[in-house]
Symmetry: C2
Subunit: 451 residues, 2 copies
């Protein structure tokens, strides 16, 4: 039982990842603002000894409120609430580098890391789409390249702020009236093209130093960014071959960036549709597809493809004259995945919407608990994954099924911990080292040179 | 027991409001980042049936880390954690309109209001000081007037976002596949000099509609802002006369602004130093003063007064040639309060530092529980206060003393609730109405005109 083990992340999303999940009799249409619903999900995932919870995010109202649950609790706020309802599980919040200010975001993550005892993670996104831009004083979406440049500088500032307190700054010498060692405080003194931040953070360095850094973009810019910064990568991969190629590519890029490829964990997303028998699992899948409103899906698909909805015919294949990935300023890798899926399997628009409705491009594994565990083990041992981002189609039932039926199989195969090691931080749980403080004595010279 | 009752707010600050509190044997120098410390304080305040908890804030590292506890958990994050550790008490976070983006801040407050079941409050500040400005890309502090103009527009945007979902938007019609009524969604469509925000908020309208709005600036701009927006006001008043004058002034301004003066609650800050006997209370006060490092206090005082530290002599009075309030772009009303206190009581700089060390300009009530209760009752009945912002000099002990010894007296006099009314929101506890949605049918015409 001492071999390489899976890292499992529970990707939470109101009533589930299937877009029609809210229409099932069991689902609560108000779940998206119900902290008790999320508290229960967090506790189920902790029962399954998952590494972490994860929430996606954009500072914009996605989708139409007419069609499906829209609007929910802000992830950092919700995960802070869940910190108090759990003891071990990591808490990974998505936050945008394009639409946040680094001083504020660095503070919030440092605070969550303190409050949770070292369980905070940050899924770093640059946020595609003009709709978000227009909530922040911009008329149009910044270019993909601009967003990634800003993201890199945002990280640079965040590192300076998180490191601005050395770990042992606080001395608390009551007799002398000296609370902290001022020589161990390092104001950011940052002046760059996107940000100018002068002072030190007003939060002492947190248990992990800073949150676990996660990245989820699979475009060229996204993979380069991941190779440089990320400690975990969430990705959507439809086939084992694609997943192996992505895995090898990101590990190689990480090595070329001068980092240990073991220091970055690759977690493809999977949508497990589980039944006692394969037939029952198929029936569940069909039940969900029956609840899709295809006319709604058409609008969403048109948005991903950057075409007018009128250009798509539900009962025909994708049009031949789509834009190329280079012409997309938004979510590039999602665009390419969708187009390739439709063409590879010769899907009609209706069939494509059915497939995307299950996991927005993530791979669905449908079957018995054994079959789902087999699929997980296959990808894990075939160099396609260090673990998985579990995206239950329906919540809470899909997470309960996974934890109660798939997790025991994974444990019995020695692929998953049977209990948490007490007191571990999220980064320790992912098998990663605590980051050095760039200003501390003994820190690598390249970090000091950044001053 | 059905007369007018006090509103009590617990102003939490690491080891206490006395600047030397951290040096007492009982104090934990690491309390500022210890969520368990704050959880205990919240539970003590809830035992005392306080209306609310409150945390001050600025996005900057105040003071020198050499002198006293500096840096703490970000207030919205900390209060979200405390929401789960409490059931009834309100949660008031300070947040700056100068250094936040309205879409993000409106989201966070709406999320906290959902998570806490309607217990969120926002202490709206414009944040004085060049140090904060330099953490956000500015070289100098924006002028007092500019900060208040931005604050007014920030509120306008926040109201549009909080109202962008009508309360009954979610219909959850599973059979028809209709989750929400799109006619009840109102994108902000805001284009102003400071902010352009196009879309709707991505959080459904929260239990209170929006957080209780609190204000704490007592300058002319601050009082005008309070009269227009605030539902509760925190203020520093040294004498009963000053407090009565301030109370009457703010209530009159509120009436002139077209609002019910009952709709704004005035809460002066008080520092209760409590002993079984008056002598013991005096001894506690002296013990704290003995721990002040006066050389550190000199720097702080010089900062408030906008003079060089060298211009102050510990054993002399304030210099005669101080700037006027008009020349101060920072915390105007705090400046005037300090100068008037020194001149009124002919204090030396050392004595002034001693007085300010206890509550940074807030009034200290030193005595037995009876004497403290008497002072509270006197101000309450003399038209000086609707309640108090309780600022214990030492935490947790000062809050425990107040809750265990002063609260029972206030209850026995019918001045304070003996238990919470279950299910009340923070705004209901303050006796204030839930705000209408400006877009809803039946909303006042002036609100619709804001479209």
């Amino acid at each position: 039982m001492t071999g390489r083990q899976l890292h499992l992340n529970a990707f939470l999303m109101n009533t589930g990842h299937h877009e029609a999940s809210w229409r099932l009799p069991e689902s609560d249409p108000y779940a998206s603002v119900d902290v008790a619903h999320y508290r229960n999900l967090a506790q189920v995932a902790e029962r399954g000894t998952f590494d972490s919870l994860f929430l996606a995010d954009g500072p914009v109202l996605f989708n139409s409120v007419g069609q499906r649950p829209s609007g929910t609790l802000e992830p950092l706020t919700l995960l802070t609430a869940l910190a108090g309802a759990t003891e071990h599980i990591g808490l990974i919040a998505t936050a945008s580098t394009s639409y946040n200010l680094p001083y504020n975001l660095a503070r919030t993550f440092a605070s969550l890391d303190h409050i949770s005892g070292g369980r905070a993670g940050w899924n770093i996104v640059t946020t595609a789409g003009a709709e978000a831009a227009r909530n922040f004083g911009l008329d149009a979406e910044p270019s993909h390249a601009t967003r990634y440049q800003r993201a890199a500088e945002f990280l640079d500032v965040a590192f300076k702020l998180w490191d601005s307190w050395e770990d042992d700054l606080i001395v608390g010498d009551k007799a002398a009236g000296v609370w902290g060692d001022t020589a161990k405080l390092h104001p950011a003194g940052h002046r760059g093209p996107y940000f100018q931040v002068e002072g030190a953070l007003n939060v002492p360095r947190s248990p992990q130093g800073y949150p676990l850094l996660v990245q989820a973009g699979s475009s060229e810019d996204g993979k380069s960014f991941a190779a440089r910064y990320a400690e975990a990568v969430f990705t959507a991969q439809q086939t084992l071959g694609d997943a192996q190629e992505f895995y090898a590519d990101v590990k190689a890029r990480t090595r070329r960036a001068g980092r240990d490829p073991e220091g970055i964990k690759i977690l493809p997303g999977i949508v497990p549709v589980i039944g006692d028998t394969e037939a029952e699992a198929r029936r569940r899948e069909a039940e969900l597809e029956d609840h899709i409103v295809y006319e709604h899906g058409l609008y969403q698909l048109a948005h991903i493809l950057h075409v007018e909805p009128g250009a798509l015919d539900l009962d025909a294949g994708l049009p031949a004259d789509l834009p190329t990935e280079d012409e997309i300023e938004g979510a590039k890798s999602r665009y390419t995945l969708v187009v390739e899926l439709a063409r590879r399997e010769s899907l009609t628009v209706r069939e494509l919407i059915g497939r995307l409705g299950g996991g927005r491009g993530h791979r669905t594994f449908t079957g018995t608990p054994e079959q789902v565990a087999d699929a997980i083990e296959e990808w894990f041992h075939a160099g396609a994954a260090d673990g998985f981002n579990i995206m239950p189609p329906v919540l809470p039932s899909g997470l309960e099924l996974f934890v109660d039926h798939v997790v025991p199989i994974l444990r019995s195969r020695g692929l998953l911990r049977t209990e948490y090691t007490p007191g571990q931080t999220l980064r320790e749980r992912y098998g990663l080292p605590r980051p050095d403080n760039q200003y501390a004595a003994g820190a690598p010279a390249y970090a000091l040179a950044a001053l």
